[in-house]
């Protein structure tokens, strides 16, 4: 149970957190500078294109989505295509929906607690406390392009082989995140149209 939770945690948290991380700061000199930069962040929003490479498929699975984050403790992580689904967190409340037959339907899922844990971790990391991670060691490569490489520690490496965050030349923005899994499957997430400190209506985090 713990193992599956951790896997879900990693899969969900890495792209979200790295998106915030890149939006919050320029090319990271160290984790302390990231923490410093995050102090001025009130909100982040952006879009993403996700490519899921599976060994049994010749072509990757493509997904597109968007996310909204507020430092008040709210997150909306939404897939627009091919499955429209959304994860809404506001405070301790977490709601999951999928869109079907023209309406949003509550999602029957076993992963609610796992996702809650993910979001709690994200909130912690968003405060710039990346260097407190017990799951990864980290390395900054100045490039170009600049990269942050996360290497899982013992235990986590059964599920994640390596994470690479490729930073854009534009300060504070990343081009993509690559998540490699043991066995050859991997996920690539490209972030785009990132905006910092936009005004986000609270209902974004309340209604699908």
């Amino acid at each position: 149970m713990e193992r599956s939770r951790m896997k879900r945690f990693l899969f969900l948290s890495v792209p979200i957190v790295t998106g915030f991380l890149s939006a919050a700061a320029g090319p990271p000199q160290d984790w302390a500078s990231l923490r410093e930069a995050s102090r001025n962040i009130r909100s982040v929003k952006g879009e993403f294109l996700q490519r899921r490479y599976l060994q049994i498929l010749k072509e990757p699975l493509l997904s597109e989505g968007r996310f909204f984050f507020s430092t008040s403790g709210s997150l909306r992580w939404e897939y627009l295509r091919p499955l429209r689904s959304v994860m809404l967190q506001k405070g301790d409340s977490l709601q999951l929906y999928h869109f079907s037959e023209g309406v949003w339907k509550p999602e029957m899922t076993q992963a609610v607690e796992s996702r809650r844990m993910v979001l709690a971790e994200i909130s912690q990391w968003f405060q710039g406390r990346f260097d407190e991670s017990k799951a990864f060691t980290h390395l900054y490569s100045p490039g170009p392009p600049a990269r942050v490489i996360l290497t899982p520690k013992e235990g986590i490496n059964r599920f994640i082989h390596r994470i690479e965050i490729v930073l854009s030349a534009r300060p504070g923005v990343i081009d993509r995140v690559e998540i490699e899994e043991p066995g050859g499957s991997r996920t690539s997430i490209e972030f785009r149209n990132m905006e910092i400190n936009s005004s986000l209506p609270s209902e974004i985090f309340e209604k699908p």
Partner: protein, 218 residues
């Protein structure tokens, strides 16, 4: 043991919907000729293929879940490799069927019971592989509906029925003749795969799967 069996059925029934058993009697056919036999296999992909389907699983009380189903098939070997993923791409279940045996590569709770693996792979087999061997009977009903019926040694029967104009269905009956699975296939077909599929299961658990083809490949 009883408790475990009950749990397995519950897990298999994560998609449970009360549709009940479907009492449909087998009809009389005007026998077909050997030349009609290829039509019995026409709704199944003929060569190696892979697919990605969007799946809406509908359970008791109308509760539903949205998933991605990825499958690769090799009809000549009667082998299948299937994955279930969340919309985020997290793998919930990964198993292969080869030479009649199921090898589970990955399964997370509550998809990690043998009953779930068996049930899921049986469903995927029903959807994408023709029953083994030659149909026991085939022909047409009075209204022109084409029908092919296979019978397995355990007394279970599979029926493929329909027409190009009115769509196709696959019925699976148990040894008492009750329909335990009903599949509707609606085109267009891409690489031998239907764009829309709907599977209704009634035994041992009841559930419904609505599937839409996202990504076919030869």
């Amino acid at each position: 043991m009883i408790r475990r069996k009950g749990l397995d059925i519950c897990l298999l029934g994560f998609l449970a919907l009360s549709v009940g058993c479907i009492p449909m009697a087998e009809t009389t056919l005007s026998p077909g000729s050997p030349d009609d036999l290829p039509a019995c296999y026409a709704i199944f992909p003929a060569g190696p293929w892979e697919s990605v389907y969007k799946i809406e699983a509908i359970m008791a009380g109308g509760v539903s879940s949205s998933l991605l189903g990825v499958t690769r098939g090799e009809p000549s070997e009667r082998s299948l490799h299937s994955l279930l993923l969340t919309p985020e791409g997290f793998i919930l279940f990964d198993a292969e069927l080869r030479e009649g045996r199921i090898a589970v590569q990955k399964a997370v709770t509550p998809f990690d019971s043998p009953a779930f693996a068996r049930g899921l792979m049986e469903d995927v087999t029903l959807l994408f592989l023709p029953p083994p061997g030659r149909p026991k009977t085939w022909g047409k009903e009075a209204d022109g509906t084409r029908v092919c019926r296979w019978e397995s040694p355990d007394g279970f029967r599979t029926e493929v029925r329909g027409s190009t104009d009115h769509g196709w269905r696959i019925l699976r009956r148990d040894d008492r003749g009750e329909v335990t699975r009903e599949v509707s296939l609606n085109g267009p077909f891409a690489q031998g795969l239907p764009f829309h599929l709907e599977l209704r299961a009634s035994k041992p658990a009841s559930y419904r799967l609505r599937m839409t083809l996202l990504q076919p490949a030869p």
